[in-house]
Symmetry: D2
Subunit: 336 residues, 4 copies
């Protein structure tokens, strides 16, 4: 960290801070400028320490140097994390397309959608059994019954399942049915849940919090990685901004930035990041063009009857057309 002294700091204050760095076992590098002094502190200094120095007399502010995540960092692991899922490689040359309804609403609905997704070229089936809904008065998901239906669809169509888990004590149950555990945007900083998902050793799809920085997303990934669970997929799903024309703002920058900062696979969820099906295909093309490793898209047989997120779901034929367009983009940038 850098300890920036204020312009009015006295030499005694600078000396006191310097001594304190030494007392705590670190090596200070004091630098005397024309305007002010700066003390560089070398070594791994936790954020608590930074806060403790921030309030010493004569200190203007602290600047951290190290990034707070290690295991997730490409500086630590330069090569991409690639792992197989049902014979398919996530994070490699192939583009993965995960699709399905927002919620599992019935056996028939899910099986029909699974078939449509499969036929259109999707590789992973998504569908929510436990739904975090902002209103207590709306459909909250089918629960374990929904998981059973998902498992049936997997067996029928040979597609791995990704589904959301919303509480730490549910992880075991959901992991029994699902191939990939989804941690949703509202739970990106639900640390007990991150712990439980880390311990499960199941692949995890970790969605960015709707107002989380990319550094915070990587810190949450670090929670999972620090339990020895290497199979984490990061998901950009739009962030909250002042713009109201769309449900969220798709942060397309996040794709190249994450690919630079981390070795983990990165996918994009255009359904939530736009909130309107009419914009989904364009944003899917953009995501792949920007270098995303895949997509997770909402598909519904009859969006006008959906129990949740109908407005942002693609119909099967629109989904199939999107897959075709995305494939062309993928070839244009030499991916499959």
């Amino acid at each position: 960290m850098m300890i920036i002294m204020s312009m009015e700091a006295t030499p005694e204050q600078v000396a006191f801070v310097n001594q304190r760095v030494i007392d705590l076992g670190f090596t200070p590098h004091p630098i005397t400028g024309e305007e002010r002094s700066v003390i560089a502190v070398v070594g791994n200094n936790p954020i608590e320490l930074q806060d403790q120095f921030a309030i010493l007399p004569g200190v203007d502010r602290i600047m951290p140097i190290s990034r707070p995540y290690k295991l997730a960092s490409r500086e630590v692991q330069p090569e991409n994390t690639v792992f197989p899922l049902n014979g398919f490689n996530i994070g490699g040359e192939q583009i993965v397309i995960m699709a399905g309804p927002c919620s599992v609403e019935s056996r028939q609905q899910l099986l029909e959608t699974a078939q449509a997704v499969k036929e259109a070229g999707g590789q992973v089936l998504r569908g929510g059994a436990f739904k975090p809904r902002s209103s207590p008065y709306t459909f909250q998901g089918m629960g374990e019954k929904g998981l059973e239906i998902l498992a049936e669809a997997r067996d029928l169509y040979h597609m791995p399942i990704v589904t959301e888990v919303i509480a730490p004590d549910q992880v075991e149950l959901v992991a029994r049915y699902a191939d990939v555990l989804q941690i949703g945007t509202r739970n990106m900083q639900n640390y007990p849940l991150l712990h439980a998902a880390g311990e499960s050793q199941h692949p995890v799809l970790l969605k960015r919090g709707m107002s989380s920085t990319l550094d915070e997303l990587l810190m949450s990934a670090e929670y999972i990685l620090s339990h020895g669970n290497q199979r984490v997929i990061l998901c950009e799903r739009g962030i909250r901004t002042f713009e109201t024309a769309t449900r969220n703002t798709t942060d397309i920058n996040a794709i190249p930035v994450l690919k630079a900062l981390t070795h983990l696979p990165v996918v994009l969820d255009p359904s939530h990041s736009t909130g309107h099906w009419e914009y989904v295909t364009a944003v899917c093309r953009a995501a792949i063009a920007a270098g995303a490793d895949g997509l997770i898209v909402e598909v519904h047989m009859h969006p006008e009857l959906a129990l949740s997120d109908g407005k942002q779901s693609l119909k099967p034929e629109t989904f199939a057309e999107m897959v075709r367009q995305v494939r062309t983009i993928a070839h244009a940038i030499n991916r499959e």
Copy 2:
């Protein structure tokens, strides 16, 4: 809701939408303007329904009319919710001051701070035993041992305890020790936790999510209220914006807006909303002047040694001075 047809919608599309409203058991009120048609739908129409209409051909967009929360609304309950806590009334004429360290770090630290808070005029003791920290490598709290220390402080100084609970299966444990359950900013939309807190029938301090709208805060309160638990305190703790001079942006508008929209008590946390102790006292004065029912403030005997949030903690003497100033402001607006 209002169904706004697009300017190019055909008469057939308008008729189709109108008929569908009828088919679903609602009453449509079609209005034909110069530019476009609008169909008003009277009655309680859930958000799913709105999404379903949003995608019908010829529909431009949907505008909801009803607010999605009921029990939390001042339209439904005009008089303030006031409830006693240790002989003190929350939500009434009195201003409540909750204070204490970010984390319980040791028995000595907590007891000393509790005494200082009591002497300076604080009414409720805060302190975290389970800490949601963004890094897996930082201090995560003392756990149940911390709760025991908090309970000891309560008995010694006759101050009720507010402490954070971060997982649904912890609620019972924390409720055994704490007088008020705190639900933190990262958990405002942790619905299993809101359910569990609702069922506990314990008073709940619900912090606004760092990027949650006031409507979303009230929806989360609705989750708790819908379990018959009436004792919910709302807490503004700063929101995330582009401004980086402070840790968060204190949304002071939230105080009068919440007091207008809901009957629930509203307090402000200036420690997190500013992130720097130098700004805390000014924002405390502002909160009370704006009509807040209380404050929750971080106090530490030795901020330069704190294991978390030292930068934003007041020392006991600064805290005591803040209480004096706030008392003057309270009298100026005829509160205690």
Copy 3:
């Protein structure tokens, strides 16, 4: 507009509002719901009127129905605006690439860059002569001398020029040299400047304000269009959000949303929207894949010596590679 009455509004208040609508010459459509009344007002009602109703007793809030822009709207003009620039069509099938340095720094620098841009396949040369800089102590541009150099480059390389104008009384001067007037992000709501640009009848590249909604961008375009100047190009250049990993957040949603709402051409500026040259090429690909009509990109022969924006400028060889990649994407979606 819709006048939403509050739940406690009395019948007298509803009647009063209704009568006032009539008195002002509009037709009210009162709708009585279970919870509250709503009065729909048909016809073009300006925003002042909405504000005036908003404060009448018993009124909860006002919801506008009409969009505030007309000439810019695709509802009013369904077909794309396409116009020629130096034999090249903007807004049609062709993708336009505008490139050049942030600032004109010297004759040699500009001519070299112009040649490099031309050879790599760029169609329009950009370069700033008048620079809006946030610090009074930094390089403010070469002024008219810069315009002369730009004109020389145009004649030498047969490329039209786009350059920024920052004050209304400069429009005439800049229009004498430039083919396209650029209105920068800080001036999107500089109405005297929009007026002057509208009256000039010169093509205008209008950049989105860094915290402007798309509706506000279209309102600013409306200012120019309302002077009979039809040749307006909209430019997404990133918006300001909480994310600090990049200089701005590229709102890729803006591309399909603007293409749906308006008939005007839409281009993207990845240099400002990312702030770092390493991310520029990925975002260029994304923009074209999302349906943008072109790009405006910063190119510098020696970014490490640039007097402004060096960090986000492409070197000529990186620019040429970007153009190649973008061309492949364009073909993949059947554009040139």
Copy 4:
């Protein structure tokens, strides 16, 4: 500045950067950590230089140390800037209240309002003659005629006038009538206007841009100060965030932060920062409690007939009551 090398930087890259610092005439202080090297560069290094280093091979990122403003900084001038206006001191112990209509609409309207403001205890009269409106179809102000009416009101009621100027070539005209030039939120980074206002040597009320950081606000003040014009009043008027319950978010933190960073007077505009008259009084109390030097408030005799901003204007009696409440708060914190 601090040049943070990446973890993989080679010793040659570190040496190259170090040499370049020397070549440019600065003194490098290289620090070798366990993870990475950092090179501290002492002295005033402009932002261009930082950008130039940012892109050298092996450099991870640059961290500036110095604040970019000097004249506006309290580090440079510790004592408050206080200046008289019509016998009243701005920036001292006294609280200044500026009030009046959003727009001058007629002679009668303005004179009546001026009288009401005067009688209620306001010290400065506000009113817009040139209005920056987001729609070209709404009332744009009375222009010079409005200035004449303002001047008449000043003479009649002995109140100085603050009014907005929106173009550099208007400054001379407006300065002929007005006592304080207002630069509005959309023009905070209109540099030609800042230059002209600086040269005029007239007091300036500078409003924060709706998405400007406090550092950017101070940089814009620096533009004016750098022309030798010392009389600048800063105005917080709400920032743009995701919250839609209010027109803007009042950043109350800005008050104590600005008082710490700068010696310039700071006032708050609660009319724009809330957008609704019902919240104005509470936010006025909060602003004064937080340490603001004054308020600028919209007052209208008949808000329901206002040609602009009626929703957020106080009626004279509400304004008078607000002044009474604010006076009580001011006394409570020992101000007048």
